[in-house]
């Protein structure tokens, strides 16, 4: 079996082979293949800039892998600011001994994910470290996007805005938990890992008045809603029954005592929109197969500022708190 060796990160001939034979082959674009010390970019409008490191274990999971995650994660952070993802950097930290076939699969998966937004990887770096220094492979990506709609912000929620979830919640966290613990509970559960830009672009094109937008990654829906409530000093009132959770996720949470709303997502986003635009936003989202269950889950009020209230279907209510403690490390 061909594996990655320390020499592949040494900067010499083997490194060159790796870069040309694998990275340039799959990420090929005019800027990257110039192979300068830095990529030279031309951006006319205001830009958004973000970075994220990906350490998920296991590196392959149902519905995705660390490569898909590394692209979708950074592209989604740009999209959530109303920015069209343009350029990404990609830095690989690889543990010696990683099978070449696995690295190839990861790189192919990144290329496939890039195509969904049209973003390009324009610069990169490869390090190979001795066994035990990282767990198989870590990837860092940074990204630049062109702002297509300004003013989207966690500080921007207004009383009366409606809250929309793009789909059911908790899939990624539950999938990784199952893979990590070797649980054969259900074969049907897949991570929601997905590039969200096409849906965001459609919302912007549809002139939806978006106050705030965030992908519900670590900390899940609970974290997004609490951050919004605190940042904008508003109360978010959420109808518990409107938040969709698939049977598999609910079942795993029952078994382990987790809350589905605390579980990470990698292709699920939450929006706050002006009330008159909410129905239109839902209709636009539902055209995409990764948002076909988009629905309104709540609204912004002033009842208890900086708090999230969950209303049950039978007349009681409670606070939805930020997840605490060690939920599940290295999910992304």
């Amino acid at each position: 079996m061909k594996v990655v060796q320390l020499s592949h990160g040494g900067g010499g001939e083997e490194t060159n082979t790796l870069i040309h034979g694998l990275f340039y082959k799959h990420f090929s674009n005019e800027i990257l293949i110039k192979a300068e010390d830095a990529a030279v970019l031309e951006v006319k409008n205001k830009i958004a800039f973000t970075t994220d490191s990906f350490t998920v274990s296991p590196i392959f999971f149902n519905g995705g892998d660390i490569g898909k995650l590394a692209v979708a994660g950074t592209v989604n952070d740009l999209a959530m600011m109303g920015a069209k993802p343009l350029y990404l950097s990609s830095a690989f930290m690889i543990e010696e001994g990683l099978a070449f076939s696995e690295l190839t699969q990861i790189v192919e998966s990144m290329a496939k994910e890039l195509a969904k937004s049209g973003a390009k990887i324009v610069c990169g770096d490869t390090k190979v470290v001795p066994r035990g220094s990282v767990d198989k492979i870590f990837i860092n990506t940074a990204g630049i996007g062109e702002i297509m709609k300004e003013g989207i912000s966690v500080l921007n929620l207004h009383e009366g805005d409606l809250i929309i979830a793009s789909r059911d919640v908790g899939r990624h966290g539950a999938t990784v938990l199952m893979a990590r613990e070797n649980l054969d509970v259900t074969a049907d559960l897949q991570s929601d890992c997905e590039t969200l830009w096409p849906a965001v672009e459609a919302l912007i094109d549809g002139k939806i008045s978006i106050s705030a937008m965030r992908d519900a990654t670590r900390g899940g829906l609970s974290a997004v809603l609490n951050e919004w409530a605190q940042s904008s000093n508003v109360c978010l009132e959420v109808e518990e029954d409107a938040v969709q959770i698939c049977d598999e996720v609910r079942g795993i949470c029952e078994m382990f005592g987790f809350e589905p709303m605390d579980f990470a997502n990698e292709g699920t986003f939450i929006l706050a929109v002006a009330p008159e635009d909410a129905e239109a936003a839902v209709t636009i989202l539902q055209q995409f197969d990764f948002c076909e269950n988009a629905s309104i889950i709540g609204r912004v009020t002033q009842k208890y500022p900086a708090k999230v209230i969950l209303r049950s279907g039978y007349g009681s209510s409670r606070f939805l708190d930020l997840p605490k403690g060690e939920l599940l490390p290295r999910i992304c």
């Binding site: 613990e181 029954d241 049977d247 609910r250 079942g251 029952e254 078994m255 382990f256 005592g257 208890y304 708090k307 049950s312 279907g313 039978y314 007349g315 009681s316 209510s317 409670r318 606070f319 708190d321 605490k324 403690g325 060690e326």
Partner: protein, 375 residues
């Protein structure tokens, strides 16, 4: 017949229409109550259900809940946590325990802090993993810090059994298994909490049978209803309690008939009896020393008993709680979390002063998570 799915186990028991209907029936029948009901739900799982589903909001003012001592993490006194820390600090040792125990503060630090300092401390999803870890680390000492009420005791007994049968020589047990009836009796004998009905812990009764609560109606004339953990179960249990009081009865009844019988799981009981026996006394946080309220390894298996083998390094002085923490008073049913001066300020789930804030079954944790400062 279609295959039974996991959701069938809870779907109907959270049905909004059923919950509304039960709440209405309780309100109607509670009009005939001769005195207000002070119901102790002993088990932390019930406390969690009550707070998570906001059940007090659905009930008349004449019904209130007193949260009991049924959270195994909450009742653990600091000196026992210090035992776990001392064991974890032994050379060449892996300490295993269950979830929340990791974060409970001992006299100086917690297991989580010690783990961050470099000691090998691992939470388990299932006690059976202890066997696997011991086998994978033959050159290390592995100590399982076992906690829990009657519900989790058979699992520990099963691990002890497997350790013996599989001839595993590097796995030891520090037993902190406690028993519900002696603790509840201590609270009733004290009388200050003025409890006049019980929701009986039901997963305990899956193992031990509902019969273990018979002394409560017999001795203290209080109704006991052994209920399940879903909101419909708890409300149905409350309705049964209300009816008993209106009819001036004090009986032991089972609501959770899908899992609980009077006799319980006799095979599990036998398994426990084979390896464990009541210990002469155990100090409960808040309640104090209760005779015969916990278990220990039988003398014939002393070679597996971490308390015996490593006794020299285990501190045994009782250690009191932080002076501002009222966990003890809460565990006795004499105070609500909101009455604590440091609730939600100096004591939060991230920076717990007391165990009731740490455990997801703890009363303070449930109030903090679901009711904030508004309950």
């Amino acid at each position: 017949m279609s295959e039974l799915q996991l959701k069938d186990l809870y779907d109907g028991f959270r049905n909004p229409d059923t919950i509304r209907s039960l709440a209405k029936q309780i309100a109607d029948e509670a009009k005939n109550l001769k005195m207000p009901l002070r119901i102790m739900e002993v088990c932390g799982g019930h406390t969690h259900t009550i707070m998570k589903y906001g059940l007090p909001q659905l009930l008349p003012d004449t019904i209130s809940f007193i949260h009991g001592p049924g959270c195994p993490v909450c009742i653990m006194p600091k000196e026992r946590i210090d035992h776990a820390i001392a064991l974890a600090k032994m050379e060449n040792t892996i300490l295993l325990t269950l979830g929340d125990m990791i974060r409970v503060p001992g006299s100086k630090t917690s297991l989580a802090q010690e783990r961050a300092a470099g000691y090998d401390i691992r939470p388990l999803y299932t006690p059976m993993d202890a066997l696997k870890i011991a086998k994978e680390n033959p050159d290390k000492r592995v100590v399982f810090f076992a906690i829990g009420f009657e519900t989790t005791t058979p699992m520990t007994a099963a691990v002890i059994k497997a350790t013996i049968e599989q001839n595993i020589t590097n796995l030891f047990f520090h037993i902190n298994h406690v028993l519900v009836p002696p603790a509840v009796d201590a609270i009733m004998a004290d009388g200050k909490a003025q409890i006049n009905a019980f929701i009986g812990p039901s997963h305990v009764s899956v193992i031990s049978g509902a019969k273990i609560y018979q002394p409560l109606p017999d001795k203290y004339k209080t109704p006991v209803v052994v209920s399940g953990f879903e909101p419909v179960d708890v409300l149905q249990g409350i309705l049964m309690i209300v009816r008993q009081q209106v009819q001036e009865r004090a009986d032991l009844e089972i609501e959770y008939t899908r899992s609980v019988t009077m006799e319980g799981n006799t095979i599990a009981q036998k398994l426990i009896d084979t390896y464990l026996q009541p210990r002469s006394h155990f100090r409960w946080r808040g309640i104090g020393d209760i005779p015969d309220s916990a278990l220990e390894i039988r003398p014939e298996f002393a070679y597996l008993d971490a308390e015996k083998i490593f006794g020299d390094i285990l501190p045994n002085e009782p250690i009191d709680d932080h002076k501002l923490c009222i966990c003890g008073t809460i565990l006795k049913g004499l105070a609500k979390p909101m009455e604590c001066k440091v609730f939600g300020t100096a004591c939060t789930p991230n920076t717990p002063l007391g165990s009731c804030m740490v455990s997801s079954e703890g009363a303070c944790n449930a109030y903090y998570r679901y009711a904030g400062v508004l309950a």
